[in-house]
Amino acid sequence: MGNEKLIYLDNNSTTPTDPRVVEAMLPYFHEIPGNAASRNHPFGWKAEEAVDYARDQIAELIGVDSKEIIFTSGATESDNLAIKGVFEMYARKGNHIITAKTEHKAVLDACKKVEKMGGEVTYLDVQRDGLVDLEALENAITDKTILVSIMWANNETGVIQPMKEIGEICAKHGVLFMSDATQAVGKIPVNPKEVGVHLMAFTGHKMYGPKGVGALFVNRKNPRVKVTAQMDGGGHERGMRSGTLNVPGIVGLGKAAELARKEMAQDAERLSKLRDKLEHTLVERLEESYVNGNIEHRMPHVTNISFKHVEGEGLMMTFNQNIAVSSGSACTSASLEPSYVLIALGLGDDLAHSSIRFSLGRFTTEEEIDYAIDALVKGVNHMRDLSPIWEMYKEGVDLDSVVWAEH
């Protein structure tokens, strides 16, 4: 075949930095190298100007005031700052946090830390389609609840939560609403104030910006929200996050935000067509294929599909020399556990092991999708030829009734 094409369909893992973003960042390494906190000379002033401009670009993308943007090293830090920062700041109000089992580890592990610090955390189950049960959420709220943390869009399935409804519940009970919006910002319209989100985490490298820089939106008026700094030393970012600002990174994040604001709608339209082509064709051509997660409330560029009786890592090996995707299989995780998100959706371990996540991006072409479709069909069929459980299924054996000799 001799096809050296390298196709990247793993944009939910990270995105390539847009060349226009790289170009915007470059001067800030050597020509304009100042520390944005240096108040007394043009080097500092120029750096500060660039940071302020980036703040405006980002604020414009999400419809907030630039004073409400705090720069961090990425969404993981922003999630930690929001959760631990609220827990510490509002300790006198209460100690209970509500979140969901499908959140990113940055949220779940921060919550576990809060539990060690004496906090109480409720980890809500989700429904089969990945959506939070609003009634269960409201019932979990107590007079000690200080924060609800629900991600805007899920990284594995692309499922988008009912943010407006959750915001209404939180407003009704006077509870702060925080969202890890890493997978949504810059890809779909995200406006925290419109839905009642008070804190919001996101990062550059999921929206064609650089790695190593992110932000936390912190609402300033009605209500005025504050977080206790987790990084002390100098009082930067209104005392909420100390540390010299990553000027080139911030400039990049700003540029990425501006490009996203301008191009998001057409990217989403183009990508949802390609995603649908990929998804529909695969499900049509391969029997026993299942799409995971709510397909109506979903990011336009993501599809997570389980190919029954085929293991994910093995399947990826049939094409991973030139196509990059992710899998929910235990074999692909460091912990040897299958995807906890898919398990929370009630998939069952075997379908979790058989899942592949395709996340398209700005640089994905239709030609690449066509190539990927063919490679996947070949790969799944090849793996099914090797699979004893596919053979058993074809013979009409009820696999659920088999007593497996586990080791």
Binding site: H309, V310, E311, E313, G314, M317, S329, A330, C331, L336, P338, G348, D349, D350, H353, D385, L386, S387, P388, I389, W390, E391, L399, W404, A405, E406, H407
Partner: protein, 135 residues
Amino acid sequence: MAYSEKVLEHFKNPKNVGTLDKSKKNVGTGLVGAPECGDVMRLQIEVDDNSGVITDAKFKTFGCGSAIASSSLATEWLKGKSLDDAMAIDNMTIVEELALPPVKIHCSVLAEDAIKSAIKDYKTKNADVPAETKA
């Protein structure tokens, strides 16, 4: 995690993929693992009743590249061996041959289990046949 050349080779060109007729008395079938674990191996042997030597072996595996390579390698090694020699196959020799990293050692263990399970099945099916049969 990079795969060794040998794992890639077995994955691209697996040896002895297929199915033997398990209704035949001289075929032993081992089925180990579970779909929930992400690993299922079915390994079959065909044994010459007179010599007690494995004349054919076939496998099918639901699992990752290392699992497929381990079971493919196992069928290669089984052909031509006596049942006793086959029972002695140790998973660590599979690990060494395929250069499996620590996180994939369990794939070789499953392959060893599959071998033993196939032999056990053959022996159970042939328990009524005395060790030495003179026609």
